[in-house]
């Protein structure tokens, strides 16, 4: 290009500014070409405000976006952490449940084993209990008389009278005065320390 500037080009920005605007407006709509002279008349010139730099104008938008992104990231992080923490809690709790289930299972096993007839029989024998014989039945007739049906026989005392360890715990009746008296209330089971004859017809109607 030649280094000589066209003399007409220098003032152009000043004078041509309205023209430029007009021209640009015509690009948009042909109809305004005719009204051109009119608009030139009304056009007032003002001092353009100092153009704000593009970066400065976008700053709030960028800030908002950054804020949103930041918030999103933080939320995501928090959520992720929460999920991870929850999964740890869940794992710990489910381990607890497993442990408790195993414990429950263990206890049920013990109960079931203790409930089994063999275990019950052994436990009863350990307490000094013996299988009951045939009971007698007391029939009360309408006239008030009673009749004993069936023979109630006292159960035979077991051959080996190994005193069970738990038996001595109930306090023995005091030595004085209790000799001939039946135990108060009669609640006390056959006292193993009592050498009373097992065939003693304590049971009603011991007809054999």
């Amino acid at each position: 290009m030649s280094a000589i500037p066209a003399p007409s080009t220098l003032p152009a920005p000043r004078t041509a500014a309205p023209g430029t605007r007009r021209r640009t407006s015509t690009v948009g709509g042909r109809s305004r070409v005719g009204s051109g002279p009119r608009s030139t008349r009304t056009l007032t010139l003002t001092v353009a405000p100092a153009a704000t730099p593009l970066a400065a104008r976008r700053a709030p938008f960028v800030a908002v976006v950054l804020l949103l992104v930041g918030l999103g990231l933080v939320t995501l992080l928090v959520l992720n952490t929460a999920i991870a923490a929850d999964s740890f809690t869940r794992r710990a709790l489910s381990q607890d449940i497993d442990q408790l289930q195993l414990r429950e299972q263990q206890l049920q096993l013990e109960v079931a084993a203790a409930q089994a007839p063999t275990a019950l029989a052994r436990a009863a024998a350990g307490q000094g209990m013996i299988p009951a014989g045939q009971p007698g039945f007391l029939v009360i007739h309408p006239d008030g008389t009673t009749e004993i049906v069936g023979g109630a026989t006292p159960a035979a005392r077991p051959a080996s009278r190994s005193a069970p360890p738990r038996q001595p715990q109930p306090p023995a009746p005091p030595p004085g005065g209790a000799q001939g008296d039946p135990p108060p209330g009669g609640q006390q089971p056959a006292d193993p320390a009592d050498p009373a004859d097992p065939a003693d017809p304590a049971a009603p109607g011991g007809t054999g």
């Binding site: 999920i83 991870a84 929850d86 999964s87 794992r91 289930q101 195993l102 299972q105 263990q106 096993l109 079931a112 084993a113 409930q115 089994a116 007839p117 063999t118 029989a121 009951a132 045939q134 009971p135 007698g136 039945f137 049906v149 069936g150 023979g151």
Partner: protein
Amino acid sequence: MTAAPRRPSRPARSRPRGRPLRLSDPHRRMRVALTVVLVLLVVVGGRLVQLQGLDGPRYATAAEQLRLTTIELQAARGAILDRNGNPLAYTVQARAIFADPEMIASPGRTALAVAPLLGLTPDEIQEKIAVGGRFVYLDRALDPEIAQQVMDLRLPGIGVLDEQRREYPATSTAAQVVGFVDSDNIGLAGVEDSFNDVLTGTPGELVYERGQYGLPIPAATQSRTEAVPGSTVRLTLDQDLQYQVERAIAVANDERGVSTVQMVVLDTRTGQVLAMAGSPGYDAANPGAVPELLGNPTVSNVIEPGSVNKMITFAAALDRGLITPETEMTVPDHLAIPGSTISDAWGHAPVTWTALGVLAESSNVGTVMLARRVGAPSLDEYLRRFGLGTATGIELPAESGGILPPMPEWSGSQTDTIPFGQGISMTVLQMASMYQAVANDGVLVPPRIIEQVIGPDGGVLPQAPAEARRVVSPETAAELQHMLEAVTSDEGTGPLMRIDGYRVAGKTGTAQRPNPDGGGYAGGGYWATFAGFAPADDPRYVIAISIEQPDGSQHGGIIAAPAFTSVMSYLLQDNGVTPSGTQAPEFRFTADDE
């Protein structure tokens, strides 16, 4: 300025060499480059479409498969309960400890560490590891706590697996009925076997994406199909009664010094089995020790019933209207039959008994005379009506129907021995069942042992009920009950069967036992049998017993008495049966009686 004239000379110098200078066309170069780039792009794009679009799902699946892990969720095997809901068998969680021998650097040290926890010797563990391979069980069915202790040792090559263990809290009680399972929880005997399909559940599965350390990735794909547990089977057995029966059998074993005792308790009205047991049985703790003892003798082993079978001969005669309990007949103490002679258990001059007397005194000769009046076809019909020769259909494996040949095949002597219970065989369950029919006013309800099957959702699954059938008329049944009660009177063969406060009816028997080594009855010993019910005035329970008797010196009325009375009186008490309000009537045994 000087350079200007030289410039044009350069082309002039090259031109003479005959290669015309052709300036490359930049557009053309660009086009070529563009084409090349585009072709490359098409190739890359095509590949992309191929990988992502066409094969994409496949690769995605393959990648997911790498992360996906499937775990089988074991379905708990259903429980077996007694009639009151007490558990006889149920399943608990257990663990198996396994080893990967290839990963174990020092088997000796590993064995030493693990052995005390597993209750094994280090040598045993080392032997198992020495087998090699990648997987070997060290111990199974362990308590989870023990498995945890082993895992806490953090030994390389030792791992743990979940499994299930079958618990039998009642131990030996009802073991023959309940049966047992193998190490993979498949039923091998008893109800565990016959109801295996019902008890076994449907396993579920858990599919999840696995992270680096094997833990599930949270919020990733997971699908869980819950396992469906097996159904629960409720038996008609009463656990406590079963214990009493087994104790009575043990007592009989000890007192008699014999090994073979069988006993069945039925509910008269429903035909339900309340207890059944036989010895010898297997050891519940170690069922496989003696393979031939794995069955349930009360349904699988047959015995010759002896005089207990006379009841059917009398039932046939009564039901056909040939006799009444009062019918008199003069009976000698022996009678010739084809190829042999039968005689009564004791010598006597010819007696004029009533039919009742013949049954209550258990005269073989009188019974055979009666059977001849009934005739073999009729007798055969009644034997089969009472269920002999056919399995009862009880829900237990390996049931025998006894041995009753078709009537035309009866040998001459069989025609005369079957009436008093020789030459015919039956299970003790069948023996109990035929007395159930008499006690239930002539209606036989085939014995059953499953009360209900309860589905995993708690709903009761319907079971086909046993079809009750009339065997003899109610009048015949009443007459039979009366005659059988005479057996337990002072003059009968079973006075020891009486229970204070209750009237008892039944029939004793002593049968020759075929020698297990073959060659007829010689040396085979005897069966002492008894089948009876109480209270005789309103029968509730039937008990049938057979006890092996080496020398035959004492008959069933004596030998079976302790077992019968102890179990029956327990039953009556435990179920609150009111005592018989009446006394047994006077029985007319002989023509001379009033």
